[in-house]
Structures are given as structure tokens and as C-alpha cells.
């Protein structure tokens, strides 16, 4: 009997802890949504307003009208989309080669990829900018795309994943005269969907939300993404209209939520399989 009671206590405690952690993550989110629907006066009150007296849907329109948001949105989509497509084109064959081929200098090359993975963008941004300026690309979206076409973390993660796929399956496919590309397409990709979904999501979130890199690489509104457009809603001095800024943030976050809902099933699997918990 004693042990049974203890079990209930532990389960309850577990739920309590989970709820607490959930609150920590969800609280800023609710705050953002609540603020995005308040009036200016409501955002200024203390203690803070939780439920706006009447939801101000107009805040979203006001945020959207504060700048060329369609351009920003298109730029965000094009940049993030191109990065992900390019990354996959390079990452999958690279990970396959590192996982399944034996060739000279493999360890060295893989070491270099890990090195790229460890050097933060803050170290390289000035030389990269100078290079892009030299090539006359600053007025295009390319400086936001090119530096990210090879995703070192993705290659690393996918390689680990590919290594778990038994050699026998690949051998069998080769015996059936399958080309290497066919092996990638018919065996490697389907068997590593969770990892691919995870990498895609990580990559999507980090580039969709990126502020630093586009700020450095762009000089004009025509090539800027949403994040910079939203930062523009802030006042440099004086009182910021938080309700408008938060409305902008909601607009920024919605696509991420959609993507997450779309691939959440795969991601949970990937975490379970790959052992990153």
C-alpha cells in the first residue's frame, strides 16, 4: 500500500513540475498575445493588464502599415526557403558520404565541418560583409543566403543518423543496381525523416528569427526580412508603442507555429531516436 501511495505522489509531482515548466515557456507567449490586443494606455498600466477591455485587432493593421511589410515578408520567405532547400541539397549527400564512404582525408574534412560548426557568426561577419560588398551583392538577398548554404550542425546530426542505418540494406540496394542517388532517395531519406524534420525546423526557426545577420548584411528596406521590420516599430528614444510591436511579433511568430504543428510529430521522434533529449 505504501509504495502505491508514493507512486501517486510522484506522478502528481511530475505533473506539477511539467505544468510549472510549461508556464515558464508559455507565459511570455501569452504576454505577447495579450499586449498585442491592448490599447496604448493599457500597456502603460501597472500592475499589468491581462485581459484587454476590448481586443484591439486594429493593432495588427497598424503594425502592417508601419512599413513595407509585404516586402519584408516576401524577403523572409525567400531567404529562409532558399537556405533550407540549399542546405538539404548539400547536407544530405555530404552526410551520406561521411557516414557510408571511406575516402582519404575523411577525418580531416569532417573535422573542418565541426570547426565551422563551432565558429560563431559574430567572428566572421565583417570579412563576409566586405567580401559581399566587394562582389556588389549588398543590394541583393544573397548575403543572407550564401553563408548558410552549408549547415555544419545538420551534416553532423544527419551523419550520426545515417550511420545507424544498417549497411546490409544499402548493400542489398546496390546488388539490385540502384544508383547512389536512388539509395539516398529511397533508403536514406525515408529512414531519417525525423532527423530531417528536426534540422529543417531548427534551421527555419533560426533563420526566420535571425536579426543580427540581416541587420549587418542589408542596407535597404527592399532586401530586409520581417525581424528588422519589427525592430523598426520600436522607438529609438521616448515611449515605445508596445501594443504595436507585440502585434508585429505575433505576425512574425505565426509561421513558426504553423511549421511546428506541421512537423512536430517527426521532431519528437527525432529527439527520441537521436538521443538528444
Amino acid at each position: 500500500m505504501k509504495t502505491f501511495d508514493l507512486k501517486i505522489v510522484w506522478t502528481a509531482l511530475g505533473y506539477l513540475l511539467k505544468a510549472a515548466v510549461l508556464m515558464i515557456f508559455i507565459f511570455p507567449f501569452l504576454w505577447m498575445i495579450s499586449t498585442s490586443l491592448q490599447t496604448f494606455r493599457e500597456t502603460m498600466t501597472f500592475p499589468p493588464t491581462w485581459i484587454p477591455a476590448s481586443p484591439q485587432w486594429g493593432n495588427f493593421a497598424e503594425a502592417m502599415n508601419a512599413g513595407p511589410f509585404l516586402t519584408y515578408f516576401r524577403n523572409s520567405v525567400v531567404v529562409t526557403g532558399s537556405i533550407i532547400v540549399l542546405q538539404f541539397l548539400i547536407m544530405i549527400p555530404a552526410a551520406y558520404a561521411f557516414a557510408k564512404y571511406k575516402f582519404r582525408g575523411k577525418t580531416l574534412l569532417f573535422g573542418m565541418i565541426l570547426l565551422a560548426f563551432m565558429i560563431p557568426g559574430q567572428v566572421t561577419f565583417i570579412p563576409v560583409y566586405l567580401m559581399m560588398a566587394d562582389w556588389g551583392l549588398v543590394k541583393t538577398l544573397l548575403p543572407q543566403i550564401i553563408p548558410f548554404v552549408s549547415n555544419a550542425f545538420g551534416i553532423f546530426l544527419l551523419r550520426q543518423y545515417f550511420m545507424q542505418i544498417p549497411e546490409e540494406i544499402i548493400e542489398a540496394a546496390r546488388l539490385d543496381n540502384a544508383s547512389e542517388f536512388k539509395i539516398i532517395r529511397k533508403i536514406m531519406i525515408p529512414m531519417s525523416k525525423p532527423a530531417l524534420a528536426t534540422i529543417a525546423l531548427f534551421s527555419f526557426v533560426s533563420h526566420w528569427n535571425d536579426y543580427f545577420w540581416p541587420l549587418v548584411m542589408t542596407d535597404s528596406a527592399a532586401v530586409r526580412p520581417l525581424t528588422l521590420g519589427i525592430a523598426m516599430l520600436r522607438e529609438t528614444e521616448g515611449i515605445s508603442n508596445w501594443h504595436i510591436i507585440m502585434a508585429g511579433n505575433v505576425i512574425l511568430v505565426v509561421p513558426i507555429l504553423l511549421v511546428y504543428l506541421f512537423c512536430s510529430k517527426h521532431i519528437v521522434k527525432a529527439f527520441v531516436y537521436s538521443g538528444i533529449k
Binding site: M44, G67, K182, R185, E235, T236
Partner: protein, 437 residues
């Protein structure tokens, strides 16, 4: 068959890349990109394009965009493309990298404290010949706002969006308690203490507050008869005369009784603003840039006043100036934009009226529109009148670096209650070391 999917993907990829190039307009470098809504349509051939970088977001950014549109509408041969480059600090970083790579703008807004750093690198154009050519004298500008304009005998910047710290007062609260708006440090101490409401060990209301910024201590150093740097910029000018110790002792004294609420560093401006709006604090040292927002947010009698004096009235100035870059290839057009913005009636005057920044030419001050505004909103006139006592004593190439040290000293004293003389001594030594470099 080599897989078709790979080819298909490559085609998609190629298109997305093309789209990416198209995003900026597959423009030749140097040509204005033109798909942004805030930017006017890209220039026809024959139009000179002037790139103008600024740091104005939010409402002020919209007012600035409107200004640029007015300019473009009235100038057939010049096209100004205004671009927001982030905060003042971010704009400085962007300028540094852009100047190095030859992609800098023609005209840029520059926060006043950074101007000397750029002037020292000789990347800012001397505007004197342009002023002379247009028959403008440096005396046409408000004297208190010209403190960051001349370096090494060159006039490298003109005032644009300038502000100054001022005392914001909840008059209703003071009236209820029969208190007068303080004009001296002594009176400030009395009034601030009288405003304190304490329940148990918790303060329900504080007397006065200020954002976490070097601006306010610097103002008070000048009020106490000190200067931030000494006359020959070799050390600080508030140590030997005791102004620094006096100022910090005064603030700590107020803080100890709840008369002063000193906010946490992060987001301090927003914190003090909302406390003031909510009546949780009766008075606030804060930028004139907040007058517009506060006026529309408060439901009490809200007035502004001069910062209280100690030995003298004194206040630093803030905000940004406009500069022309030496690397500009369109200096005539760039100057026309600056001249129009600074001097013409439809130039910055409208921007000043809308944003609440300080009028910066004598002509502007005398204009009917400003006089009307001041009659209606005396709070804004107070801000301008205070400029009579404007003094900027923290001018040095090394200021951005020393500023960080000063923040550390402020934190040590205001948050950790470290010994004041010892902290100032350390700060003095550190400053002398940096200045000697």
C-alpha cells in the same frame, strides 16, 4: 535514370535564387532599390540618388519617412532614399563597416556622442563651405545644440533630432500634498521625501526616479559645478572638486529613504515611464522625447520643469545630428537635402512638431507653428528654454569606451552600495589610462 527529383529540386532552387536576386531589384550596385513601400519608387536615370541612413523607428520613423517624401516631391532631380539602420549604436556599427567597404551612405544621422569619433577618422565632410555657399551662418542654429558640431575646426554635423533631460512632474500629486515643484537639490530632497508612501517595509510610492543612464549623473555633475572631463581631456573633472562624490552621496541619500527609486538596468526607461504614468512616483528625470507619449498616457495634471540646480542649472543634450560622409559622390545633392531639411519651412519643422524633438534653428523657434504649439503645450517650451543652460562636457573620442566604465561605477554605487570615493578613484584611474592612449 539518374533521379529526376534531384534535377527538379535544382530547378526550384535556381528559381528561388533568381527570386532572391530579384528581391533587391536586380539592380546595379549604386542604383536605388525600389520595391520598399516606405521608399519612393526607384529613381529614373538622370536623378541623383542620395542615400540617407537614420535610426528612427516607430512613430518618429514614420514622421521621418514623411519628411523624405516631402523632399522628393519637391525635388525633381534628387531622390533621397531613407533607410532605418537600427538603434544609434547599431547605426554606428553599420557605418563603420560600410565606410570600410565603400558602401556607405551620402548622409547619415549620428548620435551626438559618436560624432567626434568619426570626425577624428576624417570620414565626415566639413560643411563650412556648403553653409557659406548657401548663405547660412552657424549662428542661425540654436547655440545649446551646436556643442557637437565643430571638431578640429571643422563643422561636421548639424542638429537634427535633439533632446535634453528634463524634470517630469505629476502636478496633481504635488498639489494634493501642497508641495511646490522643486528648483534646487535641497528642495528636491524635501519634496521627494514628502511624496514617499511606505506600508510596512514596502514602498507604495516613491518621490523621484530616473532611467539607468549616464545622462542624469552627468547633468548633476555639471549642476554641482563639475565637468565630466577636465579642460584638457586628460582626466575627469568631477573628482578633485568633489562634484562626483557630492552627486552620488546625494542620490544614495535619497535612495535610502525611498525618495529616489533607481530602476534595474534592463529596460529602465520603460519601467520609470510606466511608474510615473501610474502615479507610483511623483517626479521623473527623463528625456524631452517622452513628453508626447506621456501627455497621451497620463490622466493627471502633467507638467515639465527645469532639472533642479545645485550650484547652477545645467543639462547635457542628447539625440542625434545629421552628417555628410566624405566618401559621398553626390555631395551637392546631399547638401541640398541637408540644407532643405535644416532650413526650409516644409523641412524638419513638421518633423519637430510631430515628434517633440527640440527646434534647432532660430527661424524655427520664431515660426508661427512652434509658437502656437508652445502656447498649447507649455511643457515643450520648458524643454527649449532649458537649453540656455545646456552644457556638454563629455566630449572625447574615447567617450564610448569611458562610458562603459562610468556605467560600471554607477552600478557599483547605485546597486551594490560600494564606497563612493573608492569607486570614483578607480574610475578616475581607468579614465586617465584610456585617455592617455
Amino acid at each position: 535514370m539518374k533521379s529526376k527529383w534531384y534535377t527538379r529540386l535544382s530547378v526550384i532552387l535556381l528559381f528561388s535564387l533568381l527570386a532572391a536576386c530579384g528581391g533587391g531589384g536586380s539592380a546595379e550596385p549604386g542604383e536605388a532599390p525600389g520595391s520598399g513601400g516606405t521608399e519612393a519608387p526607384s529613381g529614373d536615370k538622370g536623378k541623383t540618388t542620395v542615400q540617407f541612413w537614420h535610426s528612427l523607428g516607430g512613430k518618429n520613423g514614420e514622421y521621418m519617412d514623411a519628411l523624405i517624401q516631402r523632399f522628393n516631391a519637391s525635388h525633381e532631380d534628387i531622390e533621397v532614399v531613407g533607410t532605418f539602420q537600427g538603434s544609434y549604436d547599431e547605426t554606428v556599427t553599420k557605418l563603420q563597416q560600410a565606410i570600410a567597404s565603400g558602401t556607405g551612405p551620402d548622409v547619415s544621422m549620428l548620435e551626438r556622442a559618436y560624432i567626434q569619433m568619426f570626425a577624428d577618422s576624417e570620414v565626415l565632410e566639413d560643411l563650412t563651405p556648403f553653409l557659406e555657399g548657401s548663405g547660412i551662418s552657424a549662428d542661425d542654429f540654436t547655440a545649446g545644440l551646436m556643442g557637437h558640431s565643430t571638431f578640429n575646426d571643422q563643422l561636421v554635423s548639424l542638429p537634427l533630432n535633439r533632446s535634453t533631460p528634463i524634470l517630469h512632474v505629476n502636478k496633481t500629486l504635488l498639489d494634493e500634498l501642497g508641495l511646490q515643484i522643486p528648483t534646487t537639490w535641497e528642495k528636491m530632497k524635501e519634496v521627494a521625501n514628502a511624496l514617499v508612501v511606505k506600508e510596512g517595509s514596502e514602498y507604495k510610492r516613491y518621490g523621484v526616479t530616473m532611467p539607468y543612464d549616464t545622462w542624469y549623473p552627468i547633468a548633476m555633475i555639471s549642476q554641482a559645478g563639475g565637468t565630466f572631463f577636465n579642460d584638457d581631456n586628460t582626466s575627469i573633472g568631477f573628482s578633485d572638486n568633489g562634484a562626483g562624490a557630492k552627486m552620488f552621496t546625494y542620490l544614495k541619500d535619497l535612495q535610502s529613504t525611498g525618495a529616489l527609486y533607481y530602476p534595474p538596468a534592463q529596460d529602465s526607461g520603460n519601467i520609470v515611464n510606466s511608474m510615473f504614468v501610474e502615479g507610483k512616483v511623483g517626479m521623473m528625470y527623463q528625456s524631452t522625447g517622452s513628453i508626447g507619449g506621456l501627455s497621451s498616457a497620463v490622466d493627471f495634471d502633467y507638467v515639465t520643469a527645469f532639472l533642479p540646480k545645485d550650484e547652477v542649472y545645467a543639462n547635457p543634450t542628447g539625440g542625434a545630428n545629421v552628417t555628410m560622409l566624405s566618401s559621398s559622390k553626390n555631395k551637392e545633392a546631399a547638401w541640398e537635402f541637408i540644407r532643405w531639411m535644416e532650413m526650409e519651412e516644409e523641412g524638419a519643422l513638421e518633423f519637430i512638431l510631430q515628434s517633440g524633438y527640440l527646434p534647432f534653428t532660430k527661424k524655427m523657434v520664431e515660426s508661427e507653428k512652434i509658437q502656437e504649439l508652445w502656447a498649447k503645450e507649455p511643457n515643450r517650451k520648458v524643454a527649449y528654454d532649458q537649453l540656455e543652460f545646456a552644457t556638454d562636457t563629455n566630449k572625447d573620442v574615447a567617450w564610448p569606451e569611458i562610458m562603459h566604465e562610468f556605467f560600471s561605477a554607477m552600478e557599483a554605487i547605485m546597486y551594490d552600495s560600494k564606497d563612493i570615493p573608492a569607486t570614483l578613484d578607480t574610475f578616475k584611474k581607468e579614465t586617465e589610462r584610456i585617455l592617455a592612449q
